[in-house]
């Protein structure tokens, strides 16, 4: 049956989804959907997917190499059978109705036959015509036929018709001449294709603010004034200056760089009024990375208004930048930049915090440009029939943060407002979950399944090892002599093939590895590159596709644990890299294929915590058709939402809460357990058993996944006379009093609000994220009831990121006074005869002012609930601040490191209601992936026992923490036996067996001893 005939029958929905935009958001949504049983069309305007993330050098706050973590996702997308990537394409129109959309897409001519091209790149080396590279932001060049960047997927060039001499003048055709596979095709034309999909996810990303619209900064006029994204390319090892920190005017090393924040943001037209959310933290990142990159001492200064490091781990990053890296932070928005004509240096005039006027010269100025809606957003919105907000971004609602204004259409990432990568990923997973719930009746109707070639039998055959040594651009090659390592590797026993690659992780390299396996009959593969934590699955998949068992693969980490940490010692680093390769080869030589076990999945979920995150996750899973157990410790659902009455933009929270609780109680697939505590959790992904105890006794629940949504609470202040004076209350208490009209006008004549109470201090170094908005929300509410009231907000940085900035502006225009203080000069609250007053150092007057007031509202931070016990039961760690840790800060924000367990809401980090909701939807979406499968596959790394040697002493049985070993009677004697499904692969049994009868797959005694001996060789 064809797609159309199958799904128009019986009013059925179509089990395919269109994802518009191939940035990291689109990629995540596409992969999630493909894994949950839907066919995906990923449509991207530019020639390759990857988006802005591909252009970034590093990512905050871990300084992970951006392309390194993105590349495996690109490759995964490129080879996923259920993701059809359509690049260089535009949406023409959308017809049909939700569940059955017809989308026409114009696929522009690339003039290269995608199915013939091997991506060898010879065409671009032969093409004589050059122009500025869009990918390198005009700092580097590209040819008329070009692949936008090294790791691009698809790895196919396009011809720029405007530049191509053949198209313009009728002659040249050099590319065609040199293409050995005859892939260049000048006769190609644009193609209109029609797609049938059930749902549409929009993630077209953002546009960078045009810096020349702020003429006083001289962008476009002064060569050494650049944008932040241009600076990312300068930092990048694969960028226009090969990662050398040079400035554009004279290509000289820069010694002194200034960043100017809020360029295009938080301003008046033509700048945007909103805050772009990400610029503060990316500027910190660029400053830190630049300092690390620079071979000479580098002076860095960031000019800012408010430092908005509100995300998880960002505040610590800011502190590190200040205290460890010596980045200077100057609270001032310079009005003008002047160029010194002789040196092309730039002069910035600013006022210091102690009031001095200073003129300082920098040799490079980076403008931290903001994020805007995509250029063609109006026409895109019109084609899709969706509404945009007043700033031109996709209109969404605080309670349904990923739903566009038309049914069946969802939005994620910067398209619905400026946001960083993890939030984009969360939203992408949430949008995928929404589409998945919307189409659940059509799940698995259009997907193709993966067929691997039959595994080659390598048992008994002598090892034939192939080794691939990666340069990782200059990440490895800049320190380690890669060709020397390759030549050395070739001399090692059983190595029959060795080569080096610029990026061994690129998609063309995967194809090449497969070819080499065939060509040289390889039966073991070693890659010397980065960390197995990020790249082992990718290479294992590659060798699997070449017919090898995935456990016949080993990695040597010559980057994270060699070139990056021994920069000053290239010779020693090269020797060490050789040693690591020698060890990897010694181990690989002994590898045996291992079997992976298929485990049946109990298609039910456990959600721990009945606040907004927990309820949302439960509803989302139940809507997808999975029975869900919702366990709440208290006697009612609702969590923190019970104490919140309005959102900043005035939405009724209590109404939403009531509806949500009703929906949860009414939903046939949700079982709610109140007053219930988790006592015990055993099992593993697909098969968990949880004991929950409540007044009605203990109950054992069986389920395949767990979502942790245990939330947090408002900090109980110990400072500022809280608890001592009745008129010193927290913001939450104030909100409650305002909602119940418990305060008279007289009590609100003079109100002081103090920010960062219990946050950003030694005890709790993190920013609680919500308090600035909460204070402004309450302040505006007070102004609403008592317009003549005087309200003072004492703050350290006002962190009204994104569209919340509007309310900050509104607050100021309504006469609310904001006074900045720093951590060393905290306000003092005193009470004299019951009258309250607050003293604070006014930074502009530089004088202490005393404000007599009727009420002091403390913006108390968020503290996580005590998670220690649960963390142990879940085997999922919490961070130093007590919040659960995600598997990867950037790319796996809602996954825990333990398979089958997911995190969301305040249990993960402080967040707003809409953010909690999208995270909860994301967690539900991620959790639905294993639930939607009949089986999940367990790792092949399990322990085993040599029955001959085993005397049945039972030591292994007693020490196994996972109850994965049992003693069984065999011919009247006890013998130990492993239950592979329960074995987690730790190997404690193998290291402890008194008879040395046990061993651990992939980490056998022989393999480890071979590594040790290989290390010792000199």
């Amino acid at each position: 049956m064809t797609i159309s005939s199958a799904h128009q029958a019986a009013n059925q929905k179509t089990g395919a989804v269109l994802v518009v935009g191939g940035g990291i958001g689109g990629i995540q949504a596409a992969l999630d959907l493909a894994e949950s049983g839907y066919y995906v069309y990923l449509v991207e305007q530019s020639p390759a997917i990857g988006g802005v993330m591909a252009q970034l050098d590093k990512t905050f706050p871990t300084n992970d190499c951006s392309i390194c973590i993105l590349s495996p996702k690109l490759v995964e997308c490129g080879r996923n059978l259920n993701v059809e990537i359509i690049t260089y394409a535009d949406i023409l129109d959308v017809n049909g109705k939700p569940g059955n959309f017809k989308v026409r897409v114009n696929k522009r001519a690339k003039y290269v036959n995608e199915s013939l091209c091997t991506g060898c790149g010879i065409c671009q080396t032969k093409c004589p015509w050059e122009t500025d590279s869009e990918f390198d932001q005009g700092l580097g060049k590209r040819k008329a036929i070009y692949i936008p960047y090294a790791q691009a997927i698809p790895n196919v060039p396009v011809i720029d018709k405007e530049l191509c001499a053949y198209f313009q003048k009728g002659k040249c055709r050099a590319c065609e001449k040199f293409c050995s596979v005859k892939a260049v095709d000048f006769t190609q034309t644009d193609q209109i294709i029609e797609l049938q999909v059930g749902s549409i996810i929009l993630c077209p990303g953002f546009n960078k603010f045009e810096a020349s619209l702020v003429p006083q900064y001289g962008y476009g006029k002064y060569p050494n004034v650049i944008t932040s994204i241009e600076f990312e390319r300068i930092l990048s090892a694969s960028g226009p200056y090969q990662g050398e920190l040079l400035r554009p005017s004279d290509r000289q090393r820069t010694q002194k760089i200034a960043w100017i924040q809020c360029v295009g943001s938080r301003g008046e037209s033509p700048q945007n009024s909103y805050c772009s959310s990400v610029c503060c933290t990316y500027a910190i990142k660029e400053a830190i990375v630049a300092k690390e990159h620079s071979p000479i001492p580098l002076d860095t200064a960031i000019f800012f208004m408010d430092m908005r490091t509100f995300g998880k781990g960002f505040e610590a990053y800011y502190e590190r930048a200040k205290n460890e890296h010596g980045v200077r932070f100057i609270r001032c928005r310079p009005s003008v930049i002047e160029e010194v004509p002789e040196t092309k240096n730039l002069r910035i005039k600013y006022e210091t915090e102690d009031g001095k006027l200073i003129k300082e010269e920098f040799d490079l100025v980076v403008l931290s440009i903001g994020l805007e809606p995509p250029k063609d957003v109006q026409s895109l919105a019109a084609k899709l029939g969706i509404e945009l907000n007043s700033c031109g971004f996709c209109q969404t609602d605080v309670f349904s943060p990923v739903a566009a204004s038309a049914p069946g259409k969802f939005a994620c990432g910067a398209f619905s407002g400026p946001k960083d990568i993890p939030e984009t990923i969360s939203q992408a997973s949430a949008a995928a979950a929404s589409a998945s719930a919307f189409l659940s009746s059509a799940r698995n109707s259009l997907v193709k399944s993966k067929i691997y070639p039959r595994e080659r039998d390598v048992g008994g055959a002598p090892p034939r090892i192939g080794i691939f040594v990666c340069h990782c651009g200059v990440n490895i090659g800049g320190v380690v002599n890669v060709s020397e390592v390759r030549d050395y590797a070739a001399t090692l026993p059983n190595v029959v093939y060795a080569e080096d690659n610029l990026y061994t992780c690129s998609q063309d390299a995967q194809e090449m590895i497969k070819e080499k396996i065939k060509e040289h009959n390889l039966n073991r593969v070693v890659v010397a590159s980065c960390s197995p934590h990020t790249h082992e699955p990718l290479f294992q998949e590659t060798i699997r596709q070449a017919g090898l068992n995935k456990y016949l693969f080993e990695m040597a980490n010559i980057r994270d644990q060699c070139s990056w940490v021994h920069k000053e010692y290239p010779e020693e680093a090269t020797e060490k890299a050789k040693g690591l390769v020698r060890m990897a080869v010694a181990k690989a030589r002994l590898f045996q294929p291992l079997k992976e076990l298929s485990i049946g999945v109990v298609d039910k979920a456990l959600v721990i915590g009945g606040g907004v995150a927990g309820m949302t996750a439960a509803l989302e899973l139940a809507d997808q058709g999975f029975r869900t157990f919702l366990v709440e410790r208290s006697d009612k659902l609702g969590g923190n939402l019970r104490d919140i009455y309005w959102t900043l933009d005035g939405k009724d929270v209590q109404q939403f809460l009531k509806e949500t609780i009703d929906r949860v109680h009414r939903h046939k697939l949700i079982d709610v357990y109140l007053n219930a505590e988790i006592k015990d959790i055993t099992g593993y992904i697909g098969n968990f058993r949880t004991t929950a105890a409540s007044q009605e006794g203990e109950k054992t629940l069986e389920h395949g996944v767990i979502i942790v949504a245990t939330g947090g609470q408002e900090y109980k202040p110990k400072e500022y006379l809280y608890g001592e004076h009745p008129k010193v209350i927290t913001q939450r208490e104030l909100e409650q009093k305002l909602a119940t009209h418990a305060l008279g006008d007289k009590e609100l004549n003079n109100v002081v609000m103090i920010q960062c109470v219990g946050s950003r201090n030694e005890e709790r170094p993190y920013c609680s994220r919500v308090c600035c908005s909460q204070a402004i929300k309450n302040a505006l509410k007070i102004k609403g009831v008592n317009p003549s009231s005087n309200i003072y907000v004492l703050y350290r940085d006002v962190r009204t990121y994104g569209f919340k900035e509007e309310f900050f502006t509104q607050a100021r225009s309504q006469g609310i006074i904001f006074i900045q203080f720093d951590d060393n000069n905290k306000p003092e609250v005193t009470s004299k005869n019951g009258k309250l007053s607050v003293a604070v150092l006014e930074p502009i007057l530089r004088e202490k002012v005393v404000i007599d007031c009727d009420l002091v509202a403390l913006s108390a931070g968020i503290v996580p609930n005590k998670n220690d016990e649960l963390s142990k039961l879940l085997k999922t760690p919490v961070n130093e601040d007590g919040f659960f840790m995600e598997a990867h800060v950037k790319l796996r924000p809602v996954d825990s490191s333990n398979q089958g367990i997911f995190l969301c809401g305040v249990a993960h980090s402080p967040q707003m209601i809409d953010e909690s909701i999208s995270q909860a939807m994301a967690a539900a979406g991620r959790a639905s992936i294993p639930l939607s499968k009949v089986y999940v596959t367990a790792e092949g790394i399990v322990s085993s026992v040599d029955a001959e040697k085993c005397i049945g002493c039972g030591l292994c049985e007693s020490i196994c923490a996972f109850k994965a070993i049992v003693l069984k009677q065999v011919d009247g004697v006890n013998k130990a036996e492993t239950i592979p499904a329960l074995c987690t692969g730790c190997g404690v049994c193998a290291a402890s067996c008194p008879q040395q009868a046990r061993t651990m797959g992939h980490f056998t005694d022989d393999e480890l001893i071979a590594q040790i001996n290989a290390l010792a060789v000199t």
Binding site: D560, W564, E575, C986, A991, S992, P994, F1003, L1015
Partner: protein, 255 residues
């Protein structure tokens, strides 16, 4: 740091979940350290069989670092506790054998502690430098024999069983429900380890050549009476036998 007299060769075992990730974080953060250390990844620090440690020394390495998750953070719940028991006993054995026990160090590094990883590695390198080269693959035959004796001791059933059961014996008790006090366990383990080591040492000496009680006493520096009593044990278990009589003095050899 690289300009000192010699560069020790050091092996570190890193558990997959915490320490290996911590070492990666050190890389991501570009924290610099000396290139003396090379790592072997295991899933858990509890996978590190003490035999591996001695194998490393015998192969010519100067120090061994075993890094795991912080106590309470083990991805496998208790694996790092077992690692701690094993390494403590191994250090004791090294001490008995006259090998500086600080050539072996067990420590904890979490997945976020890149800096701590570098600090531990750096301080360990300096420690091993201050102790000096081990060179067990070199000329010192006695050193090699003692290390072999340590290795053999670590392979004996009795020692492995005791160490593997330490947590159970202290917390749950034996088959009769009797709990051992930590002191009692200490002395039991100490004496067992010592006895096994001496027996193995004697056996290894006799493997090379037949020796009399006096010769063994001289080689080991132990009292001849003590040697005799161990020889009785060894003879009874059938590990050694009298090879010949020389001037009416029995000479023993390995069976």
């Amino acid at each position: 740091m690289l300009n000192t007299d010699f560069e020790p060769k050091i092996l570190s075992f890193l558990c997959n979940w915490c320490s290996y990730a911590g070492a990666d974080v050190a890389g991501i953060s570009r924290f610099q350290y000396a290139p003396n250390v090379m790592s072997i990844r295991t899933m858990c620090s509890g996978r590190v069989d003490p035999v591996f440690v001695i194998t490393a020394f015998l192969a010519g390495l100067d120090g061994v670092l075993v890094l795991g998750c912080h106590p309470g953070d083990c991805h496998y719940l208790t694996g790092n506790y077992y690692a701690e028991k094993k390494m403590k006993m191994t250090k004791r054995l090294l001490d008995i054998a006259g090998i500086h026990p600080e050539r072996l160090r067990l420590d904890w590094v979490s997945a976020s502690e890149g800096k701590r990883f570098v600090e531990i590695v750096t301080s360990f390198i300096n420690k091993v430098k201050s102790i000096g080269l081990l060179k067990a693959d070199g000329e010192d035959k006695s050193l090699r024999q003692r290390l072999q004796a340590v290795k053999a001791t670590l392979q004996t059933e009795k020692v492995r069983w005791l160490v593997g059961n330490e947590i159970d014996l202290l917390e749950k008790g034996n088959v009769f429900g009797e709990k051992l006090s930590p002191d009692k366990f200490e002395s039991l383990l100490n004496s067992t380890v010592y006895d096994e080591y001496i027996k193995n040492w004697i056996a290894i000496l006799l493997e090379e050549q037949a020796m009399s009680v006096g010769e063994i006493a001289q080689a080991t520096g132990l009292d001849p009476k003590i040697i005799s009593s161990y020889l009785v044990d060894l003879e009874q278990s059938g590990a050694v036998l009298v090879h010949a009589l020389e001037h009416r003095t029995p000479k023993y050899t390995r069976k």
